[in-house]
Symmetry: C2
Subunit: 137 residues, 2 copies
């Protein structure tokens, strides 16, 4: 993988968080792929949103909320193969940490977002406690 592909997808990923933190709905709209059928998004705790229209509607509400906390994104890894690639990162939102995946496709020379999913990370374990009785998997 040429290094510039990795740089380019990390730039696209940074632009996504910049649009988020700037509450910039127009920039967010340009980041997501144009095709209605290509797009999906799973906000933490939300049901899966399918289709550009539903996803952008969710962003319209989220970015329109003046109380929305900013996200600090810490990229862990960019995995790029031909014209698709994902950035795996940790999102820090206030005291919470989330594991996020941002999946992009190279469309007309620009990395556009196809899919975002952010899941809460378990808080770090307290000093010494019982192991969890059950896990989801």
């Amino acid at each position: 993988m040429p290094m510039d592909d990795e740089d380019a997808i990390l730039d696209a990923n940074a632009a996504y968080y910049q649009a988020f933190n700037n509450h910039d709905f127009a920039a967010m709209s340009r980041i997501w792929a144009d095709e209605e059928e290509d797009v999906s998004c799973i906000h933490p705790g939300w049901p899966t949103l399918v289709g550009r229209k539903a996803v952008l509607q969710s962003w319209f509400h989220i970015l329109g909320n003046p109380g929305q906390a900013s996200i600090e994104c810490r990229p862990l890894k960019a995995i790029v193969s031909a014209e698709e690639g994902r950035v795996l990162c940790v999102e820090i939102v206030g005291d919470a940490a989330l594991a996020a995946t941002n999946w992009f496709r190279l469309i007309d020379g620009r990395w556009r977002l196809l899919h975002h999913q952010a899941s809460p990370l378990a808080p770090p374990p307290p000093a010494q406690k019982e192991p969890p009785k059950r896990s989801l998997h």
Copy 2:
């Protein structure tokens, strides 16, 4: 998108849950793509796992746990474009529901898993309280 692509990716998705529910590590190993660098997985609450080796190691432990609850998968949508595709689904694990993404790539004619992420869905809001049957005035 030819219909058989959608069927084929849904079959691959079903095979993933079958391997899970059968605690079949060998089948699970065949479902994931072979290339170390292609693979990532985010189990609920876990930090992001990158690389086939780390991901399969997690499955070895999960599938080796005889107390691991089964998953019922309810596919919501398959989105396929050329040689990549995702299945978005709801996973039911005991009383919990998760939003899951399973991302596949067509490799040598077979849909192989590149990435899995499952996030807890917020529990449904409590049932509406009954209006009082009688009022004092």
